[in-house]
Symmetry: C2
Subunit: 318 residues, 2 copies
């Protein structure tokens, strides 16, 4: 794919991945709706295979490869959910995923990759080491790189979450996705454009990692420098492929405080009895911070994932 | 109701409560199934209104009362989920729930009762104070007592969870419920008897609170004395109405260690991304402790509730 996914690409992705992923449920909570005076629909990708929406893109990308390509395996650098999702996708196509992870990655994330049979190469926790390690692997193995978000096949895969949400819930006034590298957000924005163009697309970012916010409003690519947030899935900078889609199809980007992210996360755990990771609390945090904006609206939220180290609950340990 | 619920009573209860409760989803986890080599179906009452199956019995009991009875309100003693569920049920019938709670009850539970408009009277944390406080309230107000489990209307209500599970999942070899006072268990056993008599009914109890286990196998009522378990919903003794039903319709009672309860609870949080309370982990703990017994079986579990104090995660704080 050399162009941003069109509607057909997204429909093909949905078809390609459906055997390998869950069609996740959409939940709502009368309790939380009462709290914010809006009708909020949570698309629960925390229940997705490997615990995050990342399985959609990873499966779509890996199953788009030719037999010849797949023989040599796939590779990526990721310390997070994409690493586990790609490992799982590779295992399903009976090939190897080579994963470059910083040596200080959490045990839980290392275990998840190993659990799906991913082959880990540790690197120093900096960009130079990560890139040189990945380059070495590509040269030695001939594996195809599957970038976590800067890849149209990944974007088309991530778009299927919003597609399903629109199939299940109609007349959404607003759809919200968190933004890190922008794979989920650009997919969500494209799906909304094709399926429900009257729905406003809002992205939310932690104030401590606001490269998308600044890039969007200053209309130029501004990478993250030393971002600080509990929402560890949103530390990455936008990509060269995701940013143009976001500029074109996202209506608003909001930022939220760490305090609101924690409050939203705890509220969702407590009232909805579901486990979501900090990054997934970011959209609801935006509603908490901007209640009058969302008043009486029908709002869809893509809950990105549920992978949390349960020994480090942020409101207890931090 | 002066006799144990027959199938018609359970069907009537289902009809009576359906407007006021959730038909909760049934979840399974490939990951956990792989771990225990069985097919386990979780009936997720943690997603129930007020966070527990207790809403079923409370609604059934309160909506069974006559207009005249309901005018004077309802009352109970409970420090747990029944207190919140009864408060909610009373509010729906626009009457008052008088709740006797020990003065050392957790803030979370006190807040839940207040949230639903229950009127709390605190007592000392012992049986004598609890009973005298409740007696005073009954005399002063004329409120109808709704016991947490020793009441056929409550039992008929709790039976509707298993009824729904059998409607959604067929050919279960085994159904498991935790046992405290026995309301959920006796309802589950009756529903199984009427709907799926080929399904074996297994009750599970913490080894540190094993009055049902001992009563069942010694064939006489042996109350709890100083029970100790993290599964705070299972501290109570069997009732005079629940024990005979359990004797007649439960096949096996197993006990599990605290270690297994914690392991099961953490596994379910981690792999299924759902929040369940310690008492709800007890059935899966029994599978973990008895894998060969459950090997290749289709097993239904009633997940009793999801009310946890999120500031006190047991594997972090204990």
């Amino acid at each position: 794919m050399n162009n941003p996914p069109d509607f057909n690409n997204i429909k093909q992705a949905a078809k390609r991945i459906e055997r390998y992923i869950h069609r996740t449920p959409v939940y709502k909570s009368d309790n939380l709706n009462g709290l914010v005076n809006a009708e909020v629909f949570f698309k629960c990708e925390n229940f997705q295979k490997a615990g995050a929406f990342k399985s959609r893109g990873a499966i779509n990308a890996v199953f788009s490869l030719s037999k010849k390509e797949i023989e040599k395996g796939v590779c990526t650098h990721s310390s997070g959910n994409h690493a586990a999702a790609l490992s799982r996708a590779a295992a399903l196509r009976k090939t190897i995923a080579y994963i470059v992870m910083p040596e200080n990655s959490s045990k839980v994330k290392i275990a998840a990759v190993k659990n799906y049979g991913g082959k880990i190469s540790f690197c120093e926790p900096n960009l130079a080491s990560r890139e040189s390690t990945l380059k070495d692997i590509k040269q030695k193995t001939g594996a195809t790189e599957i970038h976590p978000y800067n890849d149209y096949r990944i974007i088309a895969g991530q778009a299927t979450a919003a597609k399903e949400l629109f199939e299940d819930i109609d007349q959404l006034d607003i759809i919200i996705a968190p933004v890190g590298g922008g794979g989920l957000l650009s997919g969500t924005a494209l799906a909304t454009h094709y399926i429900s163009s009257g729905t406003k697309v809002i992205a939310v970012e932690p104030a401590g990692a606001d490269d998308a916010y600044r890039s969007f409003y200053q209309n130029k690519f501004i990478p993250s420098v030393n971002p600080q947030t509990i929402a560890d899935g949103l530390l990455t900078s936008l990509g060269t492929l995701t940013f143009p889609i976001i500029k074109k199809h996202v209506d608003v980007i909001l930022t939220v405080s760490e305090k609101s992210i924690l409050e939203a996360m705890k509220l969702i755990w407590e009232r909805m009895k579901i486990i979501i990771e900090p990054s997934s609390a970011v959209p609801f945090a935006a509603i908490l911070e901007n209640k009058s904006y969302f008043l009486s609206k029908r709002v869809g939220i893509i809950v990105s994932g549920g992978n949390v180290d349960l020994n480090k609950i942020p409101w207890i340990n931090s």
